[in-house]
């Protein structure tokens, strides 16, 4: 009896491990394929059919072309600008809000919180938002990708929850020493909240890096396009050849690998960062799943 059970259980363990490995392959393979295709020789790749087990030939031409493409370089620059300036604004405003709303001395924090949370339940809709941003004179400006995204309510709640967990005693002793709220926030609360700040940097950073819709509706000027919008033209609208500057036949061939190289260049920065923050964002996602 005991033997039979343990036999079945061992069988389950094998089955489970195989299943997990399969899922891992299924998750990672699309990216591996893209990596292989990006370093393949363009001509040989076009003749290849089916799954890629390794690069077909080897060539870094696609990457040279990515870094020669003015739109991609410009897009990189625009995205970096939005991410850096955006993150500064995000962290500043979110911590201001989270700090103020986590103070028990603030008598009106319940109604103020309600005022903020209500926006998670009800929105004016796409067109009214578009008209508001237009009315604010932000059309065709990178600020249209920064200011309307200044605070994410879900992140604000996350940070507020983290601030509330800091013992009051610290704050009170600082107050006795004559510290005002700004001093307490910058000298005591923020230094004690590095994990939640890491999560904020990751969440806000990823959302800026990956955002494209706002850029699509708020920007007409192509030189302002962020990376994702350039990527959209290359991947989904098939315009890779437009700026590559090569002759037609070569261009069509290069377009095939350029597409893959662009994906890698645009995705790798984030994939290099997130595993190191896993411990923190798991906790963040947890609070989020309950509250949001």
């Amino acid at each position: 009896m005991l033997n039979k059970a343990s036999f079945a259980e061992r069988g389950f363990d094998y089955f489970n491990t195989v299943l997990m490995v399969l899922l891992m392959v299924l998750t990672v393979y699309p990216l591996i394929y893209v990596v292989f295709a990006s370093v393949s020789d363009a001509g040989s790749l076009m003749g290849h059919k089916g799954i890629l087990w390794r690069p077909i030939g080897f060539s870094l031409d696609a990457y040279t072309n990515v870094f020669r493409n003015p739109m991609i370089l410009k897009g990189y620059g625009n995205t970096l600008f939005v991410v850096l300036i955006g993150l500064m604004l995000n962290i500043m405003l979110t911590s201001f809000g989270a700090y103020a709303l986590s103070r028990k001395s603030l008598q009106y924090r319940k109604p103020l919180m309600l005022f903020i949370i209500f926006t998670m339940f009800f929105s004016g809709g796409l067109i009214p938002l578009y008209l508001t941003v237009k009315g604010a004179g932000l059309i065709d400006s990178l600020w249209a990708l920064i200011i309307p995204q200044a605070i994410n309510t879900f992140n604000l709640i996350l940070m507020k929850t983290a601030f509330e967990a800091i013992p009051d005693a610290l704050e009170e002793s600082a107050k006795i020493d004559g510290a005002n709220d700004f001093v307490i926030l910058f000298k005591i609360v923020l230094p004690l909240s590095m994990p939640v700040i890491a999560v904020m940097l990751l969440y806000y950073g990823v959302s800026h890096w990956n955002s494209w819709f706002q850029a699509m509706i708020f920007l007409q000027e192509r030189s302002l396009y962020p990376l994702q919008l350039v990527l959209r033209e290359i991947l989904l609208q098939g315009e890779a050849t437009a700026n590559s500057g090569a002759s037609d036949g070569d261009a069509a061939m290069l377009a095939a690998t350029l597409k893959y190289a662009t994906i890698i260049v645009a995705t790798v920065p984030i994939l290099c960062v997130y595993p190191f923050l896993q411990k923190y964002f798991v906790k963040g996602a947890l609070i989020g799943a309950i509250k949001g």
Binding site: A8, L23, L52, T119, F122, L126, P128, I263, I290, K291
Partner: protein, 303 residues
């Protein structure tokens, strides 16, 4: 009046806190409450020259146009069906994965699995849809494999009958790992003594999973299910508009993508706002009721 006096007193007492709150509240007013006010153009014939306030009132004209128009049932049906399939296939997927991860004995392997399955959550939608389009194209990898086994090549994204399948299954790929986080956390909350008692009673691992682990997850499952149902009419347009095309509108076009197309491609601002407002009101009602329900089951809710 008393509210206002109290507020003034609060502001005087917490001057610096209100200094911090000022830009925060300003942000919410400008980018959330002003657009809510702007939604009145749903009841007007908006012309940019006259502005929101100056445009003529038309009452419920745009709503009537939508309700009686050809796309009302189509967009409702597509929204509900996509949500329904997501619920049916997408909702259980992370639960099953969490249960299986929980059975892994090798800690490093388990952690690696988690890191790997979180990955799609961080990849941009543009890249995901780009890869999807590339893989499912008639000369793409998936078709190469189908052809290898003697099947017929299909251009997935041009087939109306396959749109939901592609949308929902790629959604599972995107979310299965990230979705396990909450269930894995709930698993650590299960009382270890229950497992010991079950072992003494002779329950094997399968029985323990069915009679201890799963019931332990139930409260979390129910709450998330209720909240998910509350988001039933809220299918985002971003992935839809990246994947659909006029040939697949009949199965792909949801309310939000319709709002986008009519508003920002056809510049029919008022009509689009009416459809959007209709959707917002439904979402609001569903969310409030699901939130209320989840509070009845458990004290987890936003309010």
């Amino acid at each position: 009046m008393r509210f206002r006096m109290g507020l003034l007193l609060d502001i005087r007492k917490n001057k610096l806190l209100y200094v911090m709150l000022l830009p925060v509240l300003l942000y919410y007013v400008v980018f959330h409450y002003v657009p809510m006010y702007g939604a009145v153009i749903a009841f007007k014939d908006f012309t940019p020259r006259l502005g929101i306030w100056g445009s003529d009132w038309v009452g419920f004209e745009h709503f009537r146009e939508f309700f009686t128009g050809p796309y009302f049932w189509r967009t409702i049906k597509n929204t509900v069906l996509i949500s329904f399939y997501q619920l049916l296939f997408g909702f259980p997927a992370p639960i099953i994965l969490a249960l299986l991860l929980n059975e892994l004995k090798h800690a490093v392997f388990k952690r690696t699995m988690q890191t790997v399955t979180y990955m799609p959550h961080f990849i941009s939608l543009i890249v995901i849809c780009g890869i999807l389009k590339d893989f499912t194209s008639s000369e793409g990898v998936i078709n190469d494999v189908i052809a290898f086994f003697g099947g017929e090549r299909l251009t997935f994204l041009l087939e109306p009958s396959l749109f939901r399948t592609v949308y929902v299954s790629s959604g599972i790929w995107q979310n299965i790992g990230w979705g396990t986080i909450i269930f894995l956390a709930a698993l650590t909350g299960i009382d270890q003594e229950q497992y010991e008692a079950a072992t003494i009673d002779g329950a094997g691992r399968w029985k323990q999973m069915m009679h201890v682990t799963l019931p332990g997850l139930m409260p979390t499952i129910i709450i998330l299910l209720i909240l998910e149902i509350g988001r039933m009419m809220n299918v985002g347009f971003e992935k839809i508009i990246l994947l659909y095309n006029p040939g697949t509108y009949e199965t792909a076009d949801v309310i939000s993508s319709y709002v986008y197309r009519v508003g920002l491609q056809d510049f029919n601002y008022s009509f689009s706002s009416a459809v959007g407002l209709f959707n917002s009101v439904i979402n609001f009602a569903l969310l409030i009721s699901s939130n209320w329900l989840s509070r009845k089951f458990n004290d987890t809710s936003l309010w």
